[in-house]
Every structure is written in structure tokens, then in C-alpha cells.
Subunit: 137 residues, 6 copies
Amino acid sequence: MIFITRRERFNAAHRLFKPEYSDEQNLEIFGKCSNPNWHGHNYTLFVTVKGYVNPETGFLVNLKDLSALIEIHILEKLDHRNINLEVDFMAGKLVSTENLAIGIWNELKEPISEMGAILHCIKIYETENNFAEYFGD
Amino acid sequence: MIFITRRERFNAAHRLFKPEYSDEQNLEIFGKCSNPNWHGHNYTLFVTVKGYVNPETGFLVNLKDLSALIEIHILEKLDHRNINLEVDFMAGKLVSTENLAIGIWNELKEPISEMGAILHCIKIYETENNFAEYFGD
Amino acid sequence: MIFITRRERFNAAHRLFKPEYSDEQNLEIFGKCSNPNWHGHNYTLFVTVKGYVNPETGFLVNLKDLSALIEIHILEKLDHRNINLEVDFMAGKLVSTENLAIGIWNELKEPISEMGAILHCIKIYETENNFAEYFGD
Amino acid sequence: MIFITRRERFNAAHRLFKPEYSDEQNLEIFGKCSNPNWHGHNYTLFVTVKGYVNPETGFLVNLKDLSALIEIHILEKLDHRNINLEVDFMAGKLVSTENLAIGIWNELKEPISEMGAILHCIKIYETENNFAEYFGD
Amino acid sequence: MIFITRRERFNAAHRLFKPEYSDEQNLEIFGKCSNPNWHGHNYTLFVTVKGYVNPETGFLVNLKDLSALIEIHILEKLDHRNINLEVDFMAGKLVSTENLAIGIWNELKEPISEMGAILHCIKIYETENNFAEYFGD
Amino acid sequence: MIFITRRERFNAAHRLFKPEYSDEQNLEIFGKCSNPNWHGHNYTLFVTVKGYVNPETGFLVNLKDLSALIEIHILEKLDHRNINLEVDFMAGKLVSTENLAIGIWNELKEPISEMGAILHCIKIYETENNFAEYFGD
């Protein structure tokens, strides 16, 4: 079994808050990440898939195909977007790095399976100092 | 003469647009960077100052002092902010990397001069692939 | 289960040596790392914790709290210090990257558990080419 | 049990193709990676070994020894080489990142075992966006 | 006057040699870089242009346009190519990093001028430890 | 005229202090950098030289020769050393990044001139956030 990882990037705005709280309450819980006027990040995404090498190609999967799949299912939805307002699979969720990793996992699991590989890990950097990893349940 | 550089980072939301244009016109000129719901970046800022080494300290300037000065004049205004809506020195300007570099230069030139150094360059990365540098007029 | 990592940095001096050996013997075993006048590094530390997302916050743990905890338990002891002479939890130990990873694990395991998360991994870079990882026994 | 990783680099030429296919067929399957005139990469290799800390040295293995072992068994064969034409352990194989990771694993497993450590992972970056990991069968 | 830089990457094979010398003579002068079977690199290219900010757009030049121009004039010729055999503007030249920087400068100077900017610097990394910069004559 | 840069690294211990002051006075001026038990860094050094391309080789200078020259004149003196106690060209000086850049310049200027190139810049990183550059008087 071999593991292959593709790195992708997207730039997006977000805000950490609960709609049932006031701005003051959100500030208390989420600090400056709750700014009602939004802030944003250059997110870096690492998608790791696993499986067996195809002896015809030497590949587990063609990384161009994997990149195109991430483009369609993830980057077109997230890049240059407001994650709270515009991303269907994050609607109604707290836009933390943790929830973003889980959300991206759920979007990619099935399409990667259809490519003949198994999704192993979603790793997402919010800043150079903070990242989340999700390996499924 | 010696040159000293301090790297700082801030995360902010912005949008490229001209208020006198429609969303469609802005989309045509600025592409997805004109998203009316904003997007954002992890900006990386390099502030370079020049001058002579103080023989009492071995420093041109104490980098802790330079960092604190950047914190007060720049990061408190930009970090976790919406640059179009909340940053006084960018009000009414197109929030391009070019204009951000010039705006930060204008904010820092005088305070750095008061520290006994000369501002030499503002370099700002918007993404890992794009950066602007400004050396004054 | 989700995994969250916080990166921190510290700058310290150290020396690899056994006090019962002569400088010549230490040089033979540890090479230039045994320099009796010390040398030093910019260490980079990655602390990974695991657990479940709190539905109230979207977080496993607040990374500001995790960073503050690492500051108190680790960075205040190690940053700008001589690890051989000044760090209680490394006293009497060989200051290898391996032992430093294990020492930091032992310092952080309990406090992280009290935050409601489980310490998963201590990863520490001594240089850009060398790092150690410890996952507990 | 502790894990130690050594990073090494090599620069090499390669080509993705199957000798039984025409250049046109190879282009269809492997894209521009099948260029009959070759292309190349700065490969970055991470070798992770695991085991127990030797109380006499504080080391799992001396990283200088591990680096020298990688030099002899891997870098002397791969660095500044044409992987398809000149590397014995890749002869007759498709030179994908996947097969390169497996090939390096097979070369290093035994020598690392003789050092008293266990090979845990071969991780190899072909570009900043693509890497493969192999942990054995 | 403002300076804007775009980073691009390409992967290519090359060889350092003089055709009038034997392989042995080339080995003596150019070392393993003269391997007759080629080797290769992930080259990183930084193109810096200068000029004045257009008040209509906030840009010196649109970086998408600059990137597309580099793609057409440089990357389509160099990426996944053998620089000695396949790149018109390097034909008959020693493929050193120095000559590559000068060659790229000559290809880009005119097209960038037609965009309304001035080419300021070509910077090219051959490895993480070596780079060349050319600012014109 | 072309510019070529070689990156090198060294790990060293140092302390910022003036011998005529007490530890308390040094702490007041230099903060934790004055720790009497030393601290240390992974320093990264960039040596930039300029000149004309030799048409026989395609090189300004052979980077292997430049690297060997830096090894002999700088790294053998600084790597795994205590800069305050063991480095002849820093004796009696405040070991700031500024003074280190100037000291390295003075050591390298003549030998690089003898290679047929002109020393253009010494750039030295003390941490990922701080660096000094010296271009001569």
C-alpha cells in the first residue's frame, strides 16, 4: 500500500461566530476571529490518498486527475469565497479549521473512491503555525 | 550602512472593486478578486530599515522595538480586519498589494525615523507566488 | 476524532556529552556537538493533540489556549536558555533531539489532558534536515 | 519508541513511459512527463527510522551515520543521474514517485536494520505539490 | 515606482558540457553536472517588474496577465523539457543558471515592455542553495 | 553583470552583553539575549557575488568553489562554536546579527576577489523573522 499527497491552495474569507450570540458574546468566545466584517486566510490543503500501484502506469492515481477532482469539488467552491456565506457544505457550521477539514473529507471521500483510491487524510493549514488533520471516524 | 529586516504576518479580508462600477463590471476587471462577499489572505510583511550600527548595542535598532512599532502602527489596524471597511489608511483606495505596500510605507516612515533608522523597503506577500516591494518615491 | 497541531519555536544552547568522559572521549562519540563551549539551535516544535470537536465552539481546543499552555510549560523554560544547565526536566539527561522530544511529552501530557484533549505527538526539528517524533510509549 | 527523520536531496532526470508503446501513446498516458528527451527534478527524500533510545548516547541512531548510509546506498546512485538509464534498482520499472519510494525502501531496509533501527517510512517529494509515502507492505 | 514579483516553477533536464570536449574533459571541468545521460531540477523563477500604479486598477500590471505572459514565453518552452536539446533561446549555450537567467531576461524584456511595465530582475533558483539574478546590462 | 548567491548554514551559541556591565544591566539592555549561560541559533547565510560570466564555463564562479571557500573561511570558524568565545574575527565585539554580517563580509571580501568575483552582499538570518544585510561601506 502506497500513500500519495497532493497540495492545493485557496484564499477565502471567514468568521468564527454563533448567530444566536451577540457580537460581544462572540468576541468573548472567539476573540478577533469573530470580527463581524470578516477576515481571511491563504489556506493550504493536503489531500492524501492510499491504495496500490497500478502496474500499467506506475501510479496509484494520476496526480493530474486528483488535482482536477479537488479543483471541481473543493477549490471552485472555496477559492476567493466567503466560507460562511457561500460554501454549501459549510452552511450552518462553525467555520473552524477542524470543521473545514471534516467538511472537505465528506466532499472528497466518494469521488476519490470512484477514482480507485481511498481517501486517507485531509490536512489543512490556516496559518503557518496552525493545522488540522482528519482521517475519518 | 547596514540593513535589518523584520518579518511580520497578518490575516485579513479584502475585495478588489471600484464602487462606481456594477458587480458585473468589477468581475470583468478584477476577476474573482472582486467577490462582493470578500475573500482573504495570510499577508506576510517584511519591513527593512537601514542606518549605522550603534556601537553601544551592536544594533542598528532593537528588533523588539521595531516589531512593537509595526504592531502598533500596522498589525493592530490590519490583523483580522476587513481592509476595505476598517483600515483608516486604506480608506477609499483600491486594496491591491501595490497600494497596501505604499500605504504601509506611509504609516511607518515617520515612526521609524523617530527610532533613529531610515525605512528602506516595504515588501508584502499576498500569496506564495505574488509580492510587491516599495522603496519610496 | 480530529488532530490539531500548533507550531512553536525556541532558541537555545546545548552540548552533547557525558560528564564521566573527558572532552576527548566526548569528541570521539559526539563529534563537534560535544563542544565544551556549547553551540545552539533554532528549535521548531510541533505539538499535536487529538479528540472530538466541541459543537459549541467548533474547536477541539482553542489554539490560543494550547499556545499559552506550551508557553508556560515549555517555552518559558527552554527559550533563550542553556538546555544542559537551566532546564529542570532535562537535568542529568543527554540533550539529544530524541530526549528533548520525550522530555517535552512528559511535561505536556498532563496539562493537555486537563484541557480536555489527548497529546498525540511531539515533533521537534533541530535543523531543517533532522527531526524527532514521539507518540508516547 | 522514538522516530527520527533525516532529510536528503538529489537532482535527477527521468521520463515516464512504457518501452512497448510509441511516443504518441506514451504522451497520451503520461502527458508531458513522457518527453523522450527527459526532464528532471530536485527530489527531496525523508527517511524515518524507529526504535529505542540508546541510553549511552541519547540517540536512536547517530544521524551522521544514517546520513552516510543514505549517501552510499541512495544518493551515490541517484544524484545527478538519469533514473531510467543509470539506477540499478529502478531498471525496467516505471519511474513514478510511487515506484521510487518503494525502490528506495527496498535498498535501505536491510542496511538500516543492521544499524540497529527499523525503517519506518520513505517519503519523497517530486515537486512542492506532490509527494509519496511508503511504509512497507 | 513600485516593484511586483511573480513566482513560477518549471521542471527540466540539462547537462553542463562543451561539445568540443570529451566526456572526461567535461567531467573534470563541470563535475557530475556533466553527466552525458543528463540530470534535472525543479527550477523556481522570480520575475520582477517595475513601474507606476495604474490609478484605475490599483495595479502596476495584472499578475494574471504577467503569469500568462511568462507561461507563453518561458514555461511552454522550458517546462518538462531538455534545456540543451529543446529550448530555442538556449541553443548552443552552456546551460548554467547564469546563462538561463540572461536567456529568460532576453525573452521577457520586450513582451513585458509591451504590457506597460519594465523588467527589473530575473531570479532563478536551481536548488534551495543556489540562485542567480540578472538585472540587465 | 550577473549576481550569484550561495546559501550555507551554521549552528552556534552566543550571548549579547557588554563585559563592563553587570548581568542585571545587560538584562535590562539586551533582554533574554544576555543570558550568561548562552543561547543559540541555526544561522542561515546567503553570500552574493557579482561579476561577468566566463564564456568558457558559463559560470561567474563555480559554486562548488564558492561553497568550499565559505566553508574554510567562515563555517569552520562558526559552525558548532560559541561565537563570543571562539571566533577570532568576532573577538571583543557585540555578537549582534549586524556585527556578524559585517564580520563575515570582512573575512570573505579578499578571498572572493582572488576568485575573480566581487562580494556584493552578506545576508544572515538569525531566526525566520530577523535578518541583516551588509553591502560594504
